[in-house]
Symmetry: C2
Subunit: 332 residues, 2 copies
Amino acid sequence: MAEGEFDLIARLVERLPSASPRLRLGSGDDAAVVEGGRTSATTVDAVVEGVHFTLPEFPLAAVGRKALASALSDLAAMGADPGEAYVVLAAPDSLGSDALLEVADGIAEVAEREGVAIAGGDFTRGPALVLAVTCVGYEGEVPLVGRGGAEAGEVVVVTGELGGAAAGLQLLSGAGGTDVSEGDRDALVARQLDPRPRLAAGRALAASGATAMIDVSDGLGADAGHLADSSGVGLEIELTSVPAPPGLAPALGGADAAERAVAAGGEDYELLATLPPERLEGAREAVAATGTALAQVGAVRAGQGAVLRGRDGAEVEAPGFDHRRGSRAGSS
Amino acid sequence: MAEGEFDLIARLVERLPSASPRLRLGSGDDAAVVEGGRTSATTVDAVVEGVHFTLPEFPLAAVGRKALASALSDLAAMGADPGEAYVVLAAPDSLGSDALLEVADGIAEVAEREGVAIAGGDFTRGPALVLAVTCVGYEGEVPLVGRGGAEAGEVVVVTGELGGAAAGLQLLSGAGGTDVSEGDRDALVARQLDPRPRLAAGRALAASGATAMIDVSDGLGADAGHLADSSGVGLEIELTSVPAPPGLAPALGGADAAERAVAAGGEDYELLATLPPERLEGAREAVAATGTALAQVGAVRAGQGAVLRGRDGAEVEAPGFDHRRGSRAGSS
């Protein structure tokens, strides 16, 4: 290998936090050796230039942040304790070492904030910037929560606010309304460029009796549909009960667009969960203690699929963002 | 997501073996849930079209086989029991579902042969075919073996034969000598298109007292250098002691080219290990019982780096294949 590439890899690795009591052997051997918990949750997530983000609209650090945060969000949706992450970075020659170090800094920022060790990785040249992140988490004192345990009669809850990431994307592209305050604008853009995996809220929900859980990455309608399908139940969700961030309607140019963003925006990385009704108050308090609000947004019924009702009580179509193509479902 | 893509993912997943007594929850949830061994070894490995392989010279099934086999080879080099694999597949629209199913069939072939469960993955469109494979293995009855334990006075051993994968690549590209039998030609090409991770031999070496181990993916000289650096020792290797496959010199057009392929060819995925001399015979028998030969090829000395000596006793330069660029080191 050319010396320059060796140096670059060393400089990339140096930026990434790798300290973990579980890690017996980290980067630089054939494989990382982990003294893990007996039960682990593992997820892989890839982001591809031109599909999931475009350059230079996206700052390089944001690409790194988002790649790791979106993978960690899957662990949050299991109620897992985050453990180690492994990062594959493919980049074209046109991205020099300074650019790649910016990507690494974004990864490191999230890893440090969330307490994740970067235990290994692979670097290669390629035709576009691609990040593939594997995250391993561990079962804590309560069992991990899948998507398949919801039962009729339970309530549907959502953490935080939905729609902000979609508005942030519009604002970044130069579209979107102008009647939005600078503070609201910055907060909406941050939802797109610096999403926060709800790890603590996920653990709180698991401990509070969540029967099924998923992160809202594809959009509320799509992800509610996934949870409903896995559980073999129907979900009914009232969009008027779903909290939206300040400035959403002005940023998107109206209440209809705001409702669509809440229903189908995706990439907010909040958690959607189901709970027995008698566990709702306890869950609300436990999630509030992590700094995040929990809203009851609907109910689990016998049946199948997810139905979202809008302001006028009519069903809202919410096809969801297709992260595998970077396009709206049905648009291809 | 467009229905076609949903179908495609379902068809891809259906081809991949996922049965494992360790897997509590596989594909289709936020993360795979694994009841693993306490100590695990994890590696990630990416192959990129145009960097690690070209289409259509490489059959699509071979791309899938090689992506998984090369990641498993890292587990072999730790002496780990293979466990689960997670596959990220990015592919351009020009590769239709039949093409992607061929890739999946290649992955499935290796997974079934080696007893690996495909526990999760991600599919996305992208500008080129990219496969990123994460493999998790487990420590068995003997501790995992890293690269850092070699000590002066020990012997250096290699499994199998080296140089065949480089000759196979030449033959695939239409270059290479014509004075090679059909049987030898097929065997050399198979070394390139269907490499076998030495998982059983790796476990046998770990159980036989290997102090350091690495898989020969970048080339004997480069990988011996990595092991020497990690262990803080020097390695001396006699190339005349390293077994080469039948037909290597005819396929490459001469003894000099054959020696270079043995020294620097890479991608053979054999194992290079160090052992106390008194453990050599036992190791040879244990590795032979797995169907692979073990050759003593050199010695560990105080000092640093790896020195390879050729037929005339002179030092051979062996820069190694740069898998991160798809080029010889120093060529960029």
